[in-house]
């Protein structure tokens, strides 16, 4: 009856209040009953979208965004839609919070808790963004046209294909799983890239257990079915291994006690250490934790083929080839460019590259008005040595053939902005002052340098060039950066904001994109995590896991998903993870 009266009160209270007040009301109601349920952000009332472009819009520049992942959504978040006619194309009508995907594989968090419908997000923007659930099949660069196709299992009427024209194109389609053409991988592996992948893994893990306990199997057969192999010792593979280990240890051994000693988890890594993109201390901590947990880490092993029953590997050091039977394999080794982007690259003279290249302003090289960000592109940072003569010439105002400290100081900010590798170089050499660069080889201060001396000073700076990692952090920052550029496009035409052009005259319209690294987590199971924090800090253990919880809760894209994720964690604490095979 308590529930009944709660809902009756809630219902009465709800009638006559706008949606935006519902949450506050419910909080009040449930507080008086002893519990807060949730908070929500208030939602602006909805204004209709229209499939037809209206009069005013037709004069606006048409921006088409491909993809609704981290990059696409963060671009849309702050974009000033009053200035553009914006259309978004993505085969998934939701944004997925990928960092929690490994948690979905074992039901620590539910799939629905980490997705937010795109339409929910754009409806708050007063409906001025139109969304099409479709895949872009072809980018026609010459005609500024896109060919898109809606795909669904259901046989609905009307053409699935349509084309869109654009003035500006923002490519944010992410990347696809890379099998490195290893035979058998596509047919026999699970991946961990999409929400559906995580759901499928979850079902399959339960399948392995249900099959393993059936009457009539030999112990060896039970053992094989319970051999879980993860190929790839990067953050995703390691996190999945840790999640799986927790799921087995905390939940499944109680439900399948007869086979609890037959479970084995193996991580296969081609490098010498797992998590080798992290600080060494973290790799080491992770390997020790896994060894205590009984997770088998096979480093220096390359998978050469796969069948539905066996995985064949080559041990790099000895060249030996061995085959191991498995129950389930998760392939998590890296990403490659999607076909639609490959095709586009061929059109714009990037056919020989592996990844689509942009400049530091995220503009695709070789194409006009096309931008690319996130996992689908890399920034080709300009080398300082390519421009060294131009820089010298521009800096040497009096054309004396010598650069004085004063002349150098006048251009140094522009150099650091345009060639951030110089900043990293200074830091790596522990130079406090930029003018230290101009010291002579013995380390003595000089008042001026000639072109050769200047070249010598910066000759090693470009070694600091590094591609940005394919992470959500990078994608999100790029999206935010690009939307700011779009918002100030007209403004900054007359008031350019960027560094001076050394090869031309004037300034660049915008500052180039600069990535700020806020650190990265590696959850390791058993309520422990490792983290690389800014400033080369490293943090490991239980408290890091709590930091992880708080960061991941705060980073959710909506109050809805935040409430759901936190309540999923709570549910898991109380009731454990669900083992129903759905």
């Amino acid at each position: 009856m308590a529930i009944l009266s709660f809902f009756t009160r809630a219902s009465r209270a709800f009638n006559g209040y706008p949606a935006s007040s519902k949450l506050l009301l419910l909080c009040t109601l449930s507080l008086s009953g002893g519990g807060v349920v949730a908070y929500s952000e208030s939602q602006a009332d909805v204004i209709k979208t229209s499939v037809q472009v209206n009069e005013k819009d037709s004069k606006k520049k048409r921006v088409v965004v491909l993809g609704t992942g981290w990059a696409g959504i963060s671009f849309l978040k702050d974009l000033d839609v009053s200035a553009y006619d914006v259309q978004v194309v993505s085969p998934r009508n939701y944004f997925a919070f990928t960092p929690l995907l490994p948690s979905v594989t074992c039901g620590t968090v539910e799939a629905r808790s980490i997705v937010e419908p795109v339409r929910n997000m754009i409806k708050k923007r007063n409906g001025e963004i139109r969304f099409w659930e479709a895949e872009c099949m072809k980018i026609d660069d010459a005609n500024k046209k896109l060919l898109c196709r809606h795909t669904s299992e259901n046989n609905l009427v009307g053409n699935d294909e349509f084309s869109l024209d654009y003035d500006y194109l923002v490519i944010a389609v992410g990347a696809q799983v890379n099998t490195f053409n290893t035979p058998g991988v596509l047919e026999n592996c699970h991946f961990l890239k999409e929400v559906e992948d995580a759901q499928k893994i979850r079902r399959s893990v339960i399948d392995c257990f249900e099959k393993a306990v059936l009457p009539g199997l030999t112990e060896e057969e039970r053992r094989i079915n319970l051999h879980f192999v993860i190929v790839g010792g990067g953050p995703t593979g390691v996190e999945f291994a840790a999640e799986l280990h927790d799921f087995v240890k905390e939940d499944l051994v109680n439900l399948y006690p007869s086979v609890k000693d037959l479970v084995k988890i193996t991580v296969v890594q081609s490098g010498d250490h797992i998590l080798n993109m992290f600080d060494e201390r973290i790799s080491c901590f992770a390997e020790q934790k896994f060894s205590r947990d009984g997770i088998d880490v096979q480093t220096g092993c390359r998978v050469i083929s796969l069948s539905d029953k066996e995985i064949t590997m080559k041990i790099k050091s000895t060249g030996e080839v061995c085959s191991v039977p498995h129950g389930l394999v998760v392939w998590s080794t890296g990403v490659e460019t999607r076909p639609v982007v490959k095709d586009f690259m061929a059109q714009i003279g990037q056919a020989n590259r592996r990844v689509l290249a942009t400049d530091e302003w995220l503009r695709v090289k070789g194409s006009e008005n096309v931008y690319a960000l996130g996992d689908c592109a890399t920034i080709n940072q300009r080398k300082v040595m390519e421009d060294i003569s131009a820089i010298f010439k521009a800096a040497d105002k009096d054309n004396s053939g010598f650069l004085t400290i004063k002349e150098f100081e006048d251009v140094v900010d522009d150099i650091l902005e345009r060639y951030p590798q110089v900043k990293h170089y200074l830091r790596s050499k522990q130079m406090r002052d930029v003018t230290d660069l101009l010291k002579d080889p013995e380390g003595n201060k000089r008042d001026e340098v000639d072109i050769e001396g200047f070249k010598l000073a910066l000759v090693h700076a470009d070694t600091q060039l590094k591609n940005l990692p394919a992470t959500a952090q990078v994608a999100a920052q790029q999206g935010e950066y690009l939307s700011k550029c779009f918002n100030r496009k007209y403004l900054s035409e007359d008031n350019p904001e960027g560094p001076r052009r050394f090869r031309g005259s004037g300034r660049h319209q915008f500052r180039p994109f600069q990535y700020k690294h806020f650190g990265q987590f590696a959850p390791l199971g058993g309520e422990q995590a490792a983290a690389e924090l800014p400033g080369d800090w490293v943090s490991m253990g239980h408290s890091t896991q709590w930091l992880w919880y708080s960061v991941y809760a705060s980073k959710q894209v909506s109050w809805r998903t935040r409430v759901l994720v936190v309540s999923d964690w709570t549910r898991r604490f109380i009731f454990g993870r669900d083992s129903s095979r759905i």
Copy 2:
């Protein structure tokens, strides 16, 4: 930081406490932070199950239960497992709370919230019940053997088939969807029977909307894609129609405003009214509500065929045939016997029947030690007129050829218990006293009747025979009844508990199964429901919906699902339903 500190406190508190105390602790913790999260029942510590039958068990009678639906699970719930060696076979390793399935189709409730893993339920029984995730393919009645097969998408090692021997078999496999051999139904319809069906409908509804808003479709095409047809005006079909209407009205029109006026929902019903198994007032209320909501109800229409684009119906009254284009069709017209049961029926001489018949003790007719309950069987209630002479003879103690009031009163309790239709007959004739039966045709009391008079008194009683409805309520009561019989099997051999045998001597070992009807709900959307309550009470409107919430929350099989279902309802109130296509 609030979240972080909450979890840190929770974590410290959790270490060192058994699982059973976790919830209490969390309540305390969160109360001090201002909110109660949930309660949980304490779980007994787990004792290992063993795949091998142990020494002691091998002397116990082997009971195999087929199915983990309402009937199977309620049978297992109270079964005294110390007396039997119990094995359970079901292709799904969870129990699903079917009455909430329609809510899953639109995301009012999540699929995971209405399922409970079978192993969770049997682990509480000290692991003495063994569960196999497999389908029973064949019942071999002569050899008391079952052939079972595990089915999974994953190619795991070991034989998928195994056989089981039984001493007692409990068939609770439910029924399957009945297409009445209508062409095109299997290929082009959605069903609403399993959890996966509901998930698939949810995805497809979103598909219809995403397709309908694409550029380049004509208005007619958009309209067709948004035409949702429900075939079958029973409780499930009607509830789904109502859910869908709410989903569209409360959530989807805001997200797909351009097509909000093109949506159409049609319910096709072959009878004259929807919900025609309910009281007339309810049918009428539902039809009026649907008409106000703009849901089109087409009664007196039979579907004769279906294609992926069109549904063809015959209007019964005029014989006219018409075809209507559709976007999605949900087929919800009734159930039929599963093939494995059909095959079993052929073995035991029930080949000519449509449904497996049992006696009033749920024993399958024509087989030894096999029981059937729930949707897969019907009770063949014995007609009182078949036994009328035997009853007369047994009652007429002095063999006078006349039955006195006193003699009748001596057997009347046994009659009412053995032939419950007599009770219903009395009620239908508004007879307060059983002896009223013996009155003469003019209604005058008689002191005694002869065999002809006795026959005349009961000749219409059998008209009250009715098959029990295929509902969760019936299945659950049968499961509970049968487990009680099993628990008292040995006890009651010497002390039979049932009514006297009129055709033989002594008493029946058990009382026959008797169904108690606690009423039935029909949710109609817009926070309104109708209900048939015991004693011919009818209740309709908003308050009935609150009653529905409270009953359905209280009927959940575990605290976990209860908490999840209630929090799903709450989530829906605050944030609406999720429209992500996953």
